[in-house]
């Protein structure tokens, strides 16, 4: 596996930040309920169930019912946090997400657990690489892809206070912290993790720290890379993207998802409209072969060295 980011001493499972934050919010706001498809364990929601046994609704393995029912709960004044493996939550309940959550304007939070290739060797049936593109295509859906525990906690806190449908990815893949603990998330606003003026690397989710590591490698070679954590894919911080296009020679996007329609597609749409520059889009660009999650990220060129190669291609040096 790729070496951890310099200075990072340990890694985190973002589901812990997810459940800690949700339990704390639920203590303050009794409207919050958890809704799961048998996914208490895989969502790490045991602590929520222990604290609020009546407010954890398990519908069994039934995703259409899970999201439709959550719409009813929301329409009757509750704030449902619907939590299930991202692959099943999004693909199986797509129409309920479109109609019952977004079109109907219901206040539903969809928490896609272990997205991307987090399930590694379990294979493409359990990978959720299309979810970002699907959710981004749905009008009114806020799409958040946190990079670490602080971004995850901030995303959940923000979602609880926002009246409308939100999709948040919550990964089990171990990641180092890239932020301090008390981050405030503002959808539509990217976080500049590193300043630079030769090339811009725009990443989100579990590959942000790999992108930072790539920037360190580039710096060692005298190339100054700006790094943005684009937690919010929809709405997108188009100002930050346009600045990157104007102020640096090109852009590389990095994401644990299909780039077409995802972060890569979103950034490219803005770049093409505003200030065309060379781009490369890294992501899980097809059904993955067998391998661990970390192996697959490297396989799809999202090792620091792989990201460096793309940046050099953009720069032509």
């Amino acid at each position: 596996m790729t070496q951890l980011l310099a200075g990072a001493e340990r890694t985190f499972d973002c589901r812990d930040a997810f459940v800690d934050t949700l339990v704390a919010l639920a203590r303050e706001d009794e409207r919050i309920v958890g809704v799961v498809n048998d996914s208490v364990g895989s969502s790490k929601l045991d602590a929520f169930r222990t604290a609020f046994p009546d407010r954890l609704v398990n519908v069994g393995i039934a995703e259409q019912d899970m999201v439709g029912m959550a719409a009813g709960l929301a329409a009757s004044g509750r704030i449902p946090f619907v939590s299930g493996a991202a692959c099943f939550l999004t693909a199986r309940a797509m129409e309920q997400i479109k109609v019952d959550a977004a079109y109907s304007g219901n206040n539903i939070k969809l928490c896609g657990m272990s997205p991307g290739v987090a399930y590694g060797e379990l294979g493409p049936t359990h990978h959720s690489i299309e979810d970002v593109a699907w959710m981004r295509a749905i009008d009114r859906m806020v799409v958040l892809v946190p990079a670490d525990p602080a971004e995850t906690a901030a995303a959940i806190r923000w979602a609880a206070g926002y009246d409308g449908p939100v999709f948040v990815r919550v990964s089990r893949m171990p990641v180092p912290a890239v932020h301090g603990p008390d981050l405030v998330l503002e959808p539509g606003r990217a976080t500049v993790l590193r300043e630079g003026d030769d090339v811009t690397l725009i990443a989100n989710g579990t590959v942000v720290w790999r992108t930072l590591a790539a920037a360190e490698l580039l710096a060692a070679d005298g190339i100054s890379a700006r790094v943005l954590s684009m937690t919010s894919v929809s709405p997108l911080d188009t100002d930050a993207v346009v600045r990157a296009a104007r102020e640096t020679a090109g852009i590389v996007t990095v994401e644990e998802a299909v780039p077409r329609g995802g972060l890569g597609g979103a950034v490219a749409e803005t770049v093409v409209r505003s200030h065309p520059v060379p781009m490369r889009m890294l992501g899980i660009d097809g059904f993955a072969p067998t391998g661990s999650a970390a192996y697959l990220l490297d396989h799809f060129q999202m090792s620091p060295e792989g990201i460096v190669r793309q940046a050099r291609e953009v720069l032509g040096r």
């Binding site: 309920v33 009546d54 407010r55 609704v57 519908v59 069994g60 039934a62 259409q64 019912d65 999201v67 439709g68 029912m69 959550a70 719409a71 009813g72 709960l73 929301a74 329409a75 009757s76 004044g77 509750r78 449902p80 129409e95 309920q96 109609v99 019952d100 079109y103 109907s104 304007g105 219901n106």
Partner: protein, 302 residues
Amino acid sequence: MGSLLSHAHLSLEATTRLPAGSPRAEVVAHLAETARQIRLQDLALVHFAGAGHIGGDFSAIDVLTVLYGAVLDVAPDRVEDPERDRFILSKGHVAGSYYVTLAAFGFLPVEQLATFLKPLSSLNGHPKRRSVPGIEASTGPLGHGLPIGVGHALAARLDGSERQVFVLTGDGEMQEGSNWEAMMTASHYRLDNLTVVVDRNGLQQGASTEASMDLAPLGDKARAFGFAVSEVDGHDHGALLDLLGSPERPEGRPRFVIAHTHKGHPISFMSDQVAWHHKVPDADQYATARDELLALTPGGPA
């Protein structure tokens, strides 16, 4: 052809439900006459707008009328009251009859019916949540209403509220697996504040339900899923009133009401004819159907 619907085609007069404690016979007569007026208006809507689902409209109108006219604890001036009953129209393609019913009971101005299906109208071909005050859910794709209703029923339970939830589904719609997922949930959580009414007209878009995908024995299936099942003539206002309006609830069990209906009821050439799923009556058919509705004894059974 564009819609020719105009204010000239509005015949409906808004009514109110009779006061609580009114003699049953008077209530039933009022419901029958209201249903007749709703049918007359809906017929004009579909004919002059040039689109709609009149077959399903006419099979559902008596259930809709009884629910809004005598059963649901809802009113136009308290559509946001958290303690109101919830009604979810799952068979969203009968939006026309739903809008006319809502207009009949004062939830939207009758004049607004003239915008049915017109550009930018809030009266879309399928109902949207809150597009008209009182519409609780956006429906049209089938199999959505029951899970939503289960969520409302569960919310009522969490709130410690006695409010009731009613869901009207089509019968062909029961082929959607999401309904059976939701029925397992309703039964598991013992949601006796939930009533599902199935508009059992036996026909879906292209053929009979039995020829398309057999539903029988529907009642046994619902019973096996833990529901208290009853069957009723879905055009008999008195029977619907007695069943749906009863405060009795089987302890811990949601109710499943199979309302036996006829698509296109009671129009002679429409009734039980699959072709009338979304056929639009031409001028002659409109005149004939209108005459048949006008000939019904006012206040008598539809």
